[in-house]
Point group: C2
Chain length 265, copies 2
């Protein structure tokens, strides 16, 4: 595994392919996702190969792990009720957002915005909870409880009895960002791949040592996979083929900026 | 041009290919970048095709547009000198950062950090100025003055006398982010492609209307291209092939969150 971030073909031209995974069945609690994804890849004529990165959307992971919650089962707190009254949002949803957070970064009832630090440490809107692509009017999906463990389970099932090596799994979700409009798909969990590509101490193309550059490799992989997954297309996973990455079990945690270094909380 | 964000082959499997552009000559002021990129693509056996998106790194755009500045030509202000003394940074570089900004978002001499809003409206470290991949010890590269105009010029040269249609250009740069470690390649300019993919009012995979989802399409394209471009590999451009996008001349501006809606300034 090298430093350049991609396979180079015989011609020296770096190429990467992103292949959507179609034909996955509806995901139920307990569905063996890794097995299902491997089967779906094979069935569509693109079996998983050595070196592939599988990007899997959070929504199907949450479904498989039973992380759908029925709103009618939620008893909202006074804080949730108060926020909901001003913002016009559902107090039971607000209650779940609060329960899934370990700190509140911004809470602005007039704008209807809650930005939290989730129990994992991600800073995002609504603790990552939403109802899109969740069947039924009364259910919402929470993030996986331990998204690195989710990625590891999927990877183990994919590698399982096969002879695959050097395969990695990234669990992804769309994030809003400070200062920029539009959502971008980023990583919330990973297995078999280091989250950061580190150029510190490596000479750049003109021979200068790079001092601060680390690339959020698994975030860029998640973003690239979204280009084929879309939001409406029933393509909840993608293969990224040809990306040269570092193996490792570090998961998402190195992507979380320590609070002491964070200028925007 | 459809809504799904990718080409579907005859088998219905969505695929996208990312191809690094190699063999570009060293870029000098006045280099016709679009022509050079089209020639390099042809020379490596991957000529630009209808529907391709070309992602081009800011650094070569700045070089072609004469946006390299000699530090020894810069006379630092008292503010720049004061910040430089505490932070240990070069006062002339700090001076350029201030000149290229229209507001200061964070300025913390003890940490050596300046986060500015650039003249374009991007919020980023150091107004996007850096010295990596710039030859010589005394030069740094500023962002292009009008990065949408840069993208348009490159696109015009690529399309030029060819019969290409539906080609787009994205100019990219690596950005740090609030809350998350690691840099990610995002868009700073675009031509021939709408910056946002809009799902509002479109049913999701279970038929619910999506109410807030806009995907920053050109940011995800920039991120995906970085996977083959890397930082050290002399691959300053990439073709993204198979992405179904909306044409348009809107450029980067819709990605800039209006200050009134921004919770993190």
């Amino acid at each position: 595994m090298g430093k350049e971030g991609c396979e180079q073909g015989v011609t020296g031209v770096p190429r990467l392919e992103i292949i959507g995974v179609t034909g996955l069945p509806e995901i139920a609690v307990g569905t063996r996702l890794g097995q299902g994804i491997a089967d779906a890849c094979a069935a569509q004529g693109t079996p998983i190969l050595n070196g592939d990165v599988l990007v899997v959307t959070q929504k199907i992971v949450s479904k498989a792990e039973g992380r759908l919650v029925r709103l009618s089962s939620v008893d909202p707190s006074p804080l949730a009720i108060s926020f909901a009254e001003t913002s016009g949002r559902d107090p039971r949803l607000v209650e779940l957002v609060l329960r899934e957070s370990r700190s509140i970064v911004r809470m602005e009832p007039e704008r209807g915005v809650v930005i939290t630090e989730t129990l994992h440490g991600f800073v995002c809107a609504n603790s990552g909870i939403d109802a899109s692509n969740v069947p039924g009017d009364d259910f919402v999906a929470l993030l996986p409880e331990d998204s690195d463990a989710s990625a590891r389970r999927i990877l183990e099932e994919i590698v399982g009895t096969s002879s695959l090596t050097g395969v990695a799994v990234v669990v992804s979700d769309t994030f809003g960002r400070a200062w920029r409009e539009g959502h971008v798909n980023f990583a919330i969990g990973a297995a078999g791949i280091a989250p950061l590509r580190d150029y510190r101490g490596i000479p750049d193309a003109v021979g200068k040592m790079m001092t601060v550059t680390q690339i959020a490799d698994i975030d860029e992989l998640a973003a690239s996979a979204e280009l084929v997954m879309g939001k409406t297309a029933n393509i909840p996973a993608a293969i990224v083929r040809g990306h040269r990455f570092f193996g490792g079990e570090a998961g998402y945690k190195p992507l979380i900026r320590p609070r002491a270094n964070d200028l925007f909380r």
